[in-house]
């Protein structure tokens, strides 16, 4: 059980380990995008950790990186095609960041650091913990950016948009741009560090 919560705060992939930043920043313009991206990453993470840990005794050491990449790429293709078929709007707004999950360091990182050495059960739990941590991080960034940058919270694109009075008419547009994303991540990282220190005491 303890392993399940490590991804939230102590080993949060985005804020503490600083892994998987590119997609985290690029798709965090709305909460809806962030949730879609998190779900895609979580599925790929669980799938690749599961397969890699069950094959860990059969993959030769010399070629383990290419082998892992192929396994990850297969799952990414699967997720990409499913999304195109069932959630075309989401797939369109995430764009090339779906195929780019392949090079998301969080997935290869966990495969290398955890799934290649541990049992299947432990690897799946690790994948869920990391995926949930990624979701929390990504949603936190998206929430700050969307509230400040657009004055809305988009949970579902149709009918699930919460408008914040005052901000929605005059949003601080800079937070919707890349510059704002980097600044938000910087401050959130500092905040999570502080939170980690306080809760450890």
């Amino acid at each position: 059980m303890k392993g399940l919560f490590k991804g939230l705060l102590k080993e949060n992939p985005i804020f503490v380990l600083a892994l998987g930043l590119c997609p985290a920043l690029a798709v965090s313009t709305t909460v809806n995008n962030a949730l879609g991206m998190s779900a895609a990453t979580l599925i790929v993470l669980i799938g690749s950790n599961l397969v890699i840990s069950s094959l860990r005794k059969h993959i030769p050491d010399d070629i383990h990186i290419p082998a892992y990449i192929v396994i990850i790429a297969a799952f990414v293709t699967l997720v990409d095609m499913t999304m195109q078929a069932y959630f075309p709007a989401l797939s369109k707004s995430l764009g090339i960041f779906i195929p780019l999950i392949v090079v998301n360091c969080i997935i290869l990182g966990r495969a290398e650091a955890f799934a290649s050495k541990n049992t299947i059960g432990a690897s799946v739990i690790d994948a869920i913990a990391m995926g949930v941590g990624f979701t929390v991080g990504l949603t936190a960034i998206a929430l700050v950016r969307e509230v400040l940058g657009a004055g809305t919270i988009t949970i579902f694109p149709d009918g699930g948009v919460i408008r914040i009075p005052g901000l929605a008419d005059k949003p601080a547009l800079v937070f919707a741009f890349p510059a704002g994303a980097l600044i938000v991540v910087g401050f959130l990282q500092a905040f999570f560090r502080w939170l980690g220190e306080v809760t450890n005491k």
Binding site: C22, P23, I65, I96, V103, Q189
Partner: protein, 197 residues
């Protein structure tokens, strides 16, 4: 789009790091000093120019004729990974000094999402072979410029007083954000005025 247009687009307007969020891990990880930033920047530029050219050929001679475009992600990443390996071996054999300068950065490039990113962008924009090559080259140069600026800023930040929890990566992100703000001056309108579309 003209070649000049592509160069300006990928070096300044859609700078890979500062406006497209590609390649952020090395942007934060390898920008602690200028020397390694330049090494990484050149290694990435080199791989990007080759990778866009090869993935273009792959897309147009293999994936599209055989109707297996859905394998794009798998093939592109494999080609990039083996390309990086090949470049590493060739450089080690024929140019030891260059290998000493770039060697340690080469393996890291496989997981730089910028390389796969620019390859996918070139395919999506349906560039020709020469245009793809130039797009890769200028994206690499844009990456080099961003990394170089960032390392300069971080070298200065080392001697400044920074609040405890902001030390290290958080302050790097905030400085990167301010730099991106400056890069916002290069936008589509500027590009249109410069080269007329």
């Amino acid at each position: 789009m003209t070649y000049i247009g592509i160069i300006i687009t990928y070096v300044f307007v859609s700078n890979l790091v500062l406006s497209q969020f590609l390649g952020l891990c090395p942007f934060i990880g390898v920008s602690k000093n200028t020397e390694s930033a330049v090494g990484m920047g050149f290694a990435v530029t080199f791989v990007m120019s080759l990778a866009t050219l090869i993935t273009w050929a792959l897309q147009h001679f293999i994936l599209v004729p055989l109707n297996i475009v859905f394998l794009q992600t798998v093939t592109f990443i494999l080609v990039i990974a083996s390309l990086v390996q090949l470049v590493e071996m060739v450089v080690r054999k024929y140019s030891p000094p260059l290998y000493q300068a770039l060697g340690i950065y080469l393996p890291l490039i496989t997981t730089n999402c910028g390389v796969l990113g620019i390859a996918l962008i070139s395919v999506n924009e349906s560039y020709g072979p020469m245009e793809s090559f130039i797009a890769g080259l200028s994206a690499g140069i844009g990456f080099l410029i961003a990394l170089l600026f960032m390392s300069g800023i971080r070298e200065r930040l080392d001697t400044e007083k920074v609040p405890k929890h902001l030390k290290g990566t958080p302050i790097a992100f905030i400085s990167g954000g301010l730099m991106a703000l400056a890069f916002m001056a290069f936008d589509r309108a500027l590009l249109t005025n410069l080269i007329g579309g």
